[in-house]
Symmetry: C2
């Protein structure tokens, strides 16, 4: 059974090492020669492409269009919005020169000191500033609004400690930036997008999420409100998986973007921004996978069904090839992505282990006896259950099985989350519960000071104030002051 | 007729100004606040997305997979391949620091001198070096080959004179990087991709191209051979629209990438790279458009058919809406992208001018009399011809008209190119012909010196040594030395 492929660290031994092993061994990504920047390998990128395509369709269905804005941002732009600069300007890649020249000693190339930029440029950590400086030219009248632009782009934040997909210096993401005539419209848009992200996470990634609003401490730098979707990983830590920001008029004021309304008055424009990144890959990997490797939701799996033949000789292989060809063709015509792996340089056991590691949802195997009996062995990756079935109608069965797997891994993740979400009343209970991992619902007095103290003492943060759930008032577990409702705490990635 | 929209400079007056006007007024792109970097606006980006989607499908059909490699490249990597550094290392954006800090005088942010990188990083001008440093870890045995990777990415070259789409500091592109066991396979791959680019240009962009090989002077820095597709613009200048490079073992040697062959010998790997960029947008715009605006090939038009109602009152509009709804739905079911523009804040004349400017291939108009007669006015953008047709079967007619337009603009561009491709024998004839513009076929002695002299004296370069066409030997028009065959000259973008 090709043990060499399966040598993943077990989750129970070292969850963090298991994650790293899995990302590397399933050929998803690896570290590059540049500190903190990853290489996304073809198999990992194929999953990202499925995520992109689906989200892009969902964005466009709401009227969003794509565009592209510059990679580099003039340094001075970052200072325009006071909160924004505090949050983003510090750890970023700075371009200071635009030319290299040959070293005089012939040792290679050196920076040409004569080619120093008058103003340094920053590699975008996020694009609010460059986009709002552009919107200033696009927006004059209420007729120019709303603007609903998205871009798929790379961004860079000089992170000190990086982990593949979860926290990297360079990452890929989409960032939507919308401009609206009224506060109401902008708030509605920010809410529409967090709901869209939630739907995507649950229906496509099969990852249940808690939607809510961030506390002031955890807000995006420059936002009035940050909405978030929070997922729970198998090690009991939370992963912020997408955010949508109501930016008020902060960027419009910073870049002087005004419009003439129907009554001929000048008004500042209202803004939102929202994004998800390759971090979703981390959520996808951690939410479902097991000690045998990846478990992918069928809707995002690059290969949904793999078919492996087991044969004694060339003649038998040809007969199996012929039989499988029809089944694969029918599955493809039903919209299923199928790989038939009859390569003769790897043993079936090696293939089985490899496709398990890569999380292919359904494996079909046909051997000599199957050929005689007109059967195949069907293995589902989520439960690893096997059964032998007649080839008659097997395509319809596989299609329904893919749906069942999608639903099953969602339910499994939901059950896990429900079992690991606990309401507590005292700070002592809280501390004990946070040590065990999972989401903890507790009363908090609403102040940044108390939030900060909890974080220092327990490493737990407020993941969000949920939109739904118990809204009964109470008293803060730490200070005893009034609390409007329980909020969601966890240790987080 | 909404003249304000149509105020394009005429091509005959100032072609270059016409191009700039068109890019701006058709909402394709604009300059950004960062020198040489453009903003690709939603309408321009929608065309680029069509280009991307089609090319991506064509790449994948040949077995290519997508991946993603880092934006930043360690400075020392550029020096590894001697020719490559000469070609690329010089004009590029250099990251020297990774942090900003608040200025002591409160004036904003300044570069933190304590956060200087040990080794400077370069924003990729192209990714051969970072990719081959990665391939070193991926390739061990002949079983690991071939590797056929592509990435869609932004790159940056610090150009001094920039023009929207044609030459910008940052641009979007795809870059394929393949690794092969043998020279033959790599050469075949490089050729396969230039043929793919040629097919794409002709069948989708409706732009005829000459395929051929570059002279040594015009080769990619680090390549043994560069293949190119060359298109002729309406001003008689050539535009290099895509290149594919046979890189030999240069990058494998620079990054020590070897594999064990079937006989257990160590061998250096053979390489290709190939790319097209947002420059294709420039070719697309210049090849077909006219003094009224863009003319888009139907296969790449974001909106293929626009329908505009002309109505006297709300009641009539409702009746037209109802009628158009069925026609639009049927067109969409036939795979046509349709926009029904019944917005009441713009006059029909304004809409007509705007959609002409934006190059929508087919316009359908329904007025009150059309409604009575069950007819519509059909206008085709390429010829501006109008006709009134019955609504019976109009959907099938529109679909066939789209095909006809695609073919017609290709033929028109091909005729233009044929009329502007001239063979000459003497250098005097050559100089006179180059002044007139167009492609000039002439004999050349094959030396870089003669090529350089021709360039200095006439501003014409060898666009390529065509794969096809007249291969009769002759004598060089400049030196009288033997020439293997005529080569293709032009002034170029």
């Amino acid at each position: 059974m090709a043990k060499e492929l399966k040598e993943l660290t077990k989750r129970s031994e070292n969850y963090s090492q298991w994650y790293n092993d899995l990302v590397l061994k399933a050929d998803l990504a690896e570290q590059s020669a540049v500190r903190g920047c990853m290489v996304i390998k073809p198999y990992g990128y194929a999953i990202w492409e499925k995520i992109q395509r689906q989200l892009d369709d969902m964005f466009k269905a709401t009227g969003v269009v794509n565009a592209y804005f510059p990679l580099l941002i003039p340094k001075s732009y970052l200072s325009r919005e006071a909160d924004h600069v505090e949050g983003f300007a510090k750890e970023c890649a700075v371009v200071t020169h635009y030319r290299l020249k040959n070293a005089e000693d012939g040792s290679g190339v050196v920076v040409d000191p004569a080619a120093r930029l008058e103003e340094e440029l920053i590699i975008r950590p996020t694009s609010e500033t460059i986009i709002w400086s552009t919107y200033k030219n696009w927006i004059h009248s209420y007729r120019d609004l709303p603007i609903l632009c998205n871009q798929w782009a790379n961004v860079m934040r000089w992170e000190m400690r990086t982990r593949l997909f979860l926290r990297t210096a360079e990452f890929l993401w989409q960032e939507g930036h919308t401009a609206h005539a009224t506060r109401e419209e902008a708030e509605e848009e920010a809410m529409r997008m967090i709901n869209l992200y939630g739907d995507f996470a649950e229906k496509y990634m099969a990852v249940p999420v808690v939607k809510g609003v961030k506390s002031a401490n955890e807000r995006f730098a420059g936002a009035l409100d940050t909405y978030t979707i929070e997922a729970l990983m198998q090690d009991g830590k939370a992963l912020q998986s997408g955010t949508s920001h109501f930016l008020g008029q902060n960027f419009a004021k910073a870049f002087d973007v005004q419009y003439v309304d129907k009554e001929n008055n000048m008004q500042y424009v209202w803004a939102t921004s929202w994004g998800v990144s390759t971090r979703l890959m981390g959520a996808l990997i951690m939410a479902h996978s097991d000690d045998n490797g990846l478990v992918l939701p069928p809707k995002l799996a690059p290969i949904q069904v793999v078919i492996v033949p087991i044969y004694k000789n060339e003649e038998q292989l040809k007969a199996i090839d012929a039989k499988v060809e029809g089944i694969a063709a029918k599955l493809r015509s039903m919209g299923v992505s199928v790989k038939y792996d009859n390569a003769d340089n790897k043993r079936p056991g090696f293939k089985f282990a490899d496709y398990e590691l890569k999380g292919v949802p359904v494996r079909l195997v046909m051997g000599g006896r199957d050929l005689e009996n007109n059967t195949m062995e069907v293995m589902r990756r989520d439960t690893l259950e096997k059964e032998t079935r007649s080839c008659e109608g097997i395509e319809e069965y596989v299609v329904s099985l893919l749906d069942e797997i999608q639903e099953n891994i969602y339910q499994k993740a939901l059950n896990y989350r429900n079992e690991h979400t606990v309401a507590v009343d005292t700070y002592e209970e809280f501390k004990a519960q946070i040590e065990k991992g999972g989401f903890v619902l507790a009363h908090w007095d609403g102040t940044p000071e108390t939030e900060e103290r909890i974080k220092e003492e327990t490493k737990a943060t407020i993941r969000c104030i949920p939109f739904e759930g118990d809204t009964t008032p109470g008293v803060c577990m730490v200070t005893g002051k009034p609390s409007a409702r329980r909020v969601l705490f966890a240790r987080a990635y």
